[in-house]
């Protein structure tokens, strides 16, 4: 088998289901499988093995079945490892992400089939059928893209792309046309300003990812606070059932408890967490560390306080809604404008809380305009951002290097080519000729 790069993709439909299958194909498949499971277990051809899967910072995310198909007797003719994990987009996305970190890359549409053909795994008739299929798919994709061009994700990416070409043209003018240094420092400053501006745009679009994902995968809201602030009562009220056990005893909830509901059309997972406090109790400690993990993972945190408890400061973590509970038990509370006052027990003020959640969602919608919602888009923008920061560094230091900055800008541009088609050197030169006074 030739040394081919390793590709990964979800091979079952996207969304919640009992099982999702992630397919990894290429020379590095086995190595990646070993590293993502942190085992020395040797996978046996055509046998399934149950292993733990670890993602960022060695956090275990799932137990999954690993099935190995040794080359050439596999679908693509290369080494394939299929990972059957629990059918939750969060889990499958984390695994795919980790595979990419370990040296894989997202497969292009139809790439597994293409490899199967090139490695002689499928015959002429099948190949012709696929030829038709791929082109049909690309036509469809093209149509889809045309639709998207009016002001949504593609439109915004297109704008970023345009700005990138403009910026690159400033540097290429210096490298290819200008024979002097008279405009050099001015142009470096222009390029830097423009890069800074593009970085903001990319970051803004990236920040819409959580919202985009919210639409397809749902939103996660964690309820957090000190023990006995009334977290579980609030949870039960919001989901309108006795999901969590409630009592006056502080620290009743030891583990995280989740429940599903729909807010503003978005499927939402509500998470009740253990109360945060200083404790020497081992079980309670574990509960608290899980609570922090949930807080980190959540899109919105409801920070809850009451007459008997203090608010916990989560402001650095996520979008936070401050809630003051148990207004029924005291009188004459001095209301602060950034806090919502409720009584979960008496079902008071919950409409205000829901309104606030809806506001946050729609606020995200309007600032971003468009939301990116696939891992592919996010990865492309992440790559773009990395290149842009490097370019910025190369123009800022005492060792300004125009040609390396141009190299990074080209990388940034090509990371977007997947959406917009290949950018040719002519596109850049056209910009140079139209924007600058060239010729001696």
């Amino acid at each position: 088998m030739n040394d081919v790069d390793t590709i990964v993709a979800l091979s079952t439909p996207y969304g919640h289901s009992s099982v999702s299958i992630i397919r990894i194909s290429g020379s590095g498949a086995i190595d990646i499988a070993k590293r993502i499971t942190k085992t020395k277990v040797i996978l046996i051809d055509k046998k399934a093995t149950l292993l733990s899967v670890f993602v960022e910072k060695d956090k275990k995310i799932d137990n999954a079945l690993f099935t190995y198909f040794k080359n050439p007797k596999s679908y693509t003719g290369e080494d394939i490892v299929e990972v059957s994990c629990h059918g939750n987009p969060v889990i499958s996305n984390s695994i795919i992400n980790r595979v990419c970190e370990l040296g894989g890359r997202l497969a292009d549409p139809g790439e597994f089939t293409k490899r199967a053909f090139l490695n002689g795994k499928i015959d002429l008739a099948q190949a012709e059928a696929i030829g038709g299929l791929i082109s049909a798919k690309s036509e469809e994709a093209a149509l889809h893209q045309m639709k998207n061009l009016s002001g949504t994700v593609s439109g915004r990416i297109k704008k970023i792309h345009e700005k990138l070409i403009n910026t690159l043209s400033i540097l290429e003018f210096e490298l290819d046309i200008s024979e002097s240094e008279t405009q050099l420092s001015k142009n470096v400053i222009n390029a830097l300003m423009s890069i800074k501006n593009i970085i903001l745009g990319v970051k803004d679009l990236l920040s819409s990812y959580s919202l985009g994902v919210a639409y397809t995968q749902g939103l996660r809201i964690a309820i957090a606070g000190e023990p006995n602030a009334g977290k579980s009562t609030l949870m039960n009220r919001l989901v309108k059932s006795d999901r969590s056990i409630t009592s006056a005893v502080s620290g009743t909830t030891r583990d995280t408890i989740t429940s599903e509901l729909i807010i503003a059309g978005i499927p939402t997972t509500l998470v009740d967490t253990a109360g945060i406090t200083e404790t020497s109790n081992k079980i309670e400690k574990e509960g608290i560390s899980r609570a922090y993990a949930e807080i980190k993972r959540a899109d919105i945190v409801i920070s809850i306080a009451s007459p008997d408890t203090h608010p916990v400061d989560f402001s650095e973590v996520k979008t936070v809604i401050n809630v003051y509970n148990k207004t029924d038990s005291v009188s004459g509370v001095l209301e602060e404008s950034n806090t919502i006052y409720i009584s979960a027990l008496k079902n008071q003020g919950l409409d205000l809380l829901l309104k606030k959640i809806k506001e946050i969602i729609s606020l995200k919608k309007t600032t971003s305009g468009a939301a990116i919602n696939t891992l592919r888009q996010k990865k492309a923008l992440d790559t773009c951002l990395t290149s842009l920061s490097l370019a910025q560094g190369l123009l800022k230091t005492g060792f300004i290097n125009i040609e390396l900055a141009a190299f990074e800008l080209k990388s940034a541009i090509s990371s977007l080519d997947g959406f917009l088609g290949k950018t040719t050197t002519d596109d850049v030169l056209d910009k140079v000729f139209s924007g600058f006074c060239v010729g001696k």
């Binding site: 290819d176 125009i402 040609e403």
Partner: protein, 615 residues
């Protein structure tokens, strides 16, 4: 002179392409006849008196390693040398020389006289074909000359029309006859032709200029030559001068731009956007009150001054009137006005990447007739067409340079893939692997080809061997660790580390390693030792970037190596988009890699093509 009636190679045209084509094919042992309309004009520099410059300088040294002569000619006739882009990045350093045009022509003539190439004055009006292969050329006189292969390098001469205001002159260059009939002959064989346009500025009388109003422009103090085979180098440093246009001059140009045939629509051909006329610059950048102009001597001590930056086709009296507004030009007079010239070219997608035409075996096109501009671009094509004409005659493997090896490779691939709409000039940004195509590693990149294709004599090849010896000597010495006390106190390091690692840091240079400089191959000239040292430093500092380039190159390698069948019927492919069928059928790509670079082709088109290809 009695001529043989059968030649291995016939070269039509004696410009920069023709001369390189003739010299290399004769060096390789073929019998060569060069036919030109003017024997005195061999290697003539029609426009600016300079060789090299951004991206072009790199190409000149590539020509040098591949057995071409332009680099040596320029080193011998240069009167001022300067390396451009020194502060902008080490891979884009480009040498440029102001050249004494007369001395240059003399060097070319001498070289031709000392070679076995036969030169004949005549005008080729048609080509003869037998069984879709070339069999010879026919002259205006009716005489037919038989040849195994023919290289056409007709420059701007095919149906050339000079424009000065409303005046039109049928000519190939000012004062030189144009060529007629060859275009029609080629078109009757099925070739497509088009029109392009280019321009040249006026030539001023040195004595009519007030030089006190101009600024001095000098070359480098430690100049670097183009050629690896130029030994110790101490060229002259003859100054050029610069001056600026002003608002008054712009007003005159603006008021009269309707008289310029480019504005009036009299010229159909597309001109080069990178070399705009002064009327175009003034019109498009209306806010600028000044444009820079350079005064360049056409030869040492010449009375004739080339006014770089003032290319124009305005009427002569308007040119003078506008210039007279500029302080220093109050009394200016011309040897010759600026003018535009229109000529026939043949869209180069009709060529293979060897520069042989796709439809007529043994017929090659090179130079400006392929839609390029510039002496360097022409010379490079002439050289490659000459090498490949010999391969054709001997039925050997042709020389094809891919995009990762050289600017020449980038240019030819662009030409045969893109069907250029304006005169094509080389730019460093056209090369996707720019950081690897440094002038200082030209030897590393191309030496293999010059030995495999026997393009250099033994002495020259030995120089290139020594260059590689010098390079590895430097590189090996950097494996040694360097101790803190060996580094200058200003820079300071804490621990010992391999010298190579130290150089990777931006604040360190290779000259901070005390022992490197002593590892010298003494027989190489000093400038070349320095050049190699600099390249070693570049290679180390850019290691990470070069690795990224290499990764990309290996990723697309299989595409580059996958040949498409000749006369492949693209319209029969199931699932290929209509646009892709049209583009593939026009360009007829030779490899999958070339197919993927055609503008507007999508990755899915390539996948479909691949799938059909392997059945």
């Amino acid at each position: 002179m009695k001529r043989s009636n059968f030649w291995d190679v016939v070269v039509v045209g004696g410009g920069h392409a023709g001369v390189e084509a003739a010299l290399i094919s004769s060096f390789k042992g073929c019998t060569v006849l060069l036919i030109t309309m003017d024997i005195k004009a061999l290697g003539r520099m029609s426009c600016n008196p300079a060789i090299g410059g951004l991206a072009k300088g790199q190409m000149v040294r590539e020509i040098d390693v591949l057995g071409g002569k332009m680099a040596s000619f320029a080193d011998l006739s240069g009167i001022q040398f300067k390396t451009l882009n020194k502060s902008k990045g080490r891979a884009v350093w480009s040498p440029r020389a102001q050249v004494d045009k007369r001395a240059y022509e003399k060097e070319v003539s001498l070289s031709m006289e000392n070679s076995p190439v036969s030169v004949f004055k005549g005008e080729v009006v048609s080509v003869s074909i037998e069984k879709s292969c070339i069999s010879g050329v026919v002259l205006r006189s009716g005489e037919e000359i038989k040849a195994h292969s023919v290289i056409v390098t007709s420059g701007t001469f095919l149906s050339g029309i000079i424009h000065i205001g409303e005046r039109k002159i049928l000519a190939g260059r000012m004062g030189e006859e144009r060529s007629e009939g060859l275009t029609e002959s080629l078109c009757s064989l099925g070739f497509r032709s088009g029109r392009l346009k280019t321009g040249t500025p006026p030539r001023l009388d040195k004595k009519s200029i007030d030089w006190s109003k101009t600024s001095l422009e000098l070359g480098d103090k430690d100049p670097v030559p183009f050629s690896y085979f130029t030994g110790d180098f101490k060229p002259r440093n003859v100054p050029c001068h610069s001056i600026n246009t002003n608002v008054k001059a712009h007003e005159i140009i603006q008021e009269n731009n309707h008289l310029s045939p480019m504005f009036s629509g009299d010229i159909g051909g597309m001109g080069p956007r990178y070399c705009p006329s002064i009327e175009d610059k003034v019109h498009r950048f209306i806010d600028r009150d000044s444009h820079g102009l350079f005064l360049e001597p056409e030869w040492e001590n010449s009375d004739q001054i080339y006014l770089n930056g003032f290319s124009t086709s305005l009427p002569e009296k308007i040119q003078i009137k506008a210039l007279k507004e500029i302080p220093g030009f109050g009394e200016v007079s011309f040897f010759r006005p600026g003018y535009a010239i229109e000529y026939d070219f043949f869209p180069p997608s009709q060529l293979k990447n060897t520069l042989e035409t796709k439809d007529v075996g043994g017929l090659f096109f090179a130079g400006q007739m392929n839609g390029t501009s510039g002496y360097e671009e022409a010379a490079a094509q002439g050289l490659i067409s000459g090498i490949n004409a010999v391969s054709y005659v001997r039925e050997e493997e042709p020389l094809v340079l891919d995009r990762s090896t050289s600017y020449i490779g980038v240019m030819i691939d662009d030409l045969v893939t893109k069907d250029t709409l304006e005169p094509y000039r080389m730019f460093t940004s056209r090369a996707e692997y720019r950081l690897m195509l440094r002038i200082s590693n030209t030897c590393d990149r191309l030496k293999e080809f010059s030995s495999n294709f026997s393009l250099l004599g033994e002495t020259r090849l030995e120089v290139l061997n020594q260059v590689m010896v010098q390079k590895s000597l430097f590189l090996n010495s950097l494996k040694t660790s360097i101790k803190p006390e060996e580094v200058s106190t200003v820079l300071k390091i804490k621990h010992s580390l391999p010298a190579r690692e130290l150089i990777k840091r931006p604040e360190f240079s290779i000259s901070d390693i005390p022992w490197v400089v002593s590892k010298r191959v003494e027989i190489l000239p000093l400038w070349l030792q320095r050049d190699i040292l600099f390249d070693v430093e570049s290679e180390i500092k850019y290691e990470g970037y070069i690795k990224r380039h290499l990764k990309e190159i290996s990723r697309i390698k299989s595409h580059e190596e996958t040949l498409l069948p000749r006369d492949y019927n693209f319209s029969s492919i199931l699932g290929l988009s209509k646009e892709a069928i049209e583009k593939f059928s026009l360009v007829r790509p030779e490899t999958l890699g070339q197919a993927s670079r055609i503008s507007g082709i999508k990755p899915s088109d390539i996948t479909v093509l691949m799938i059909n290809l392997f059945n």
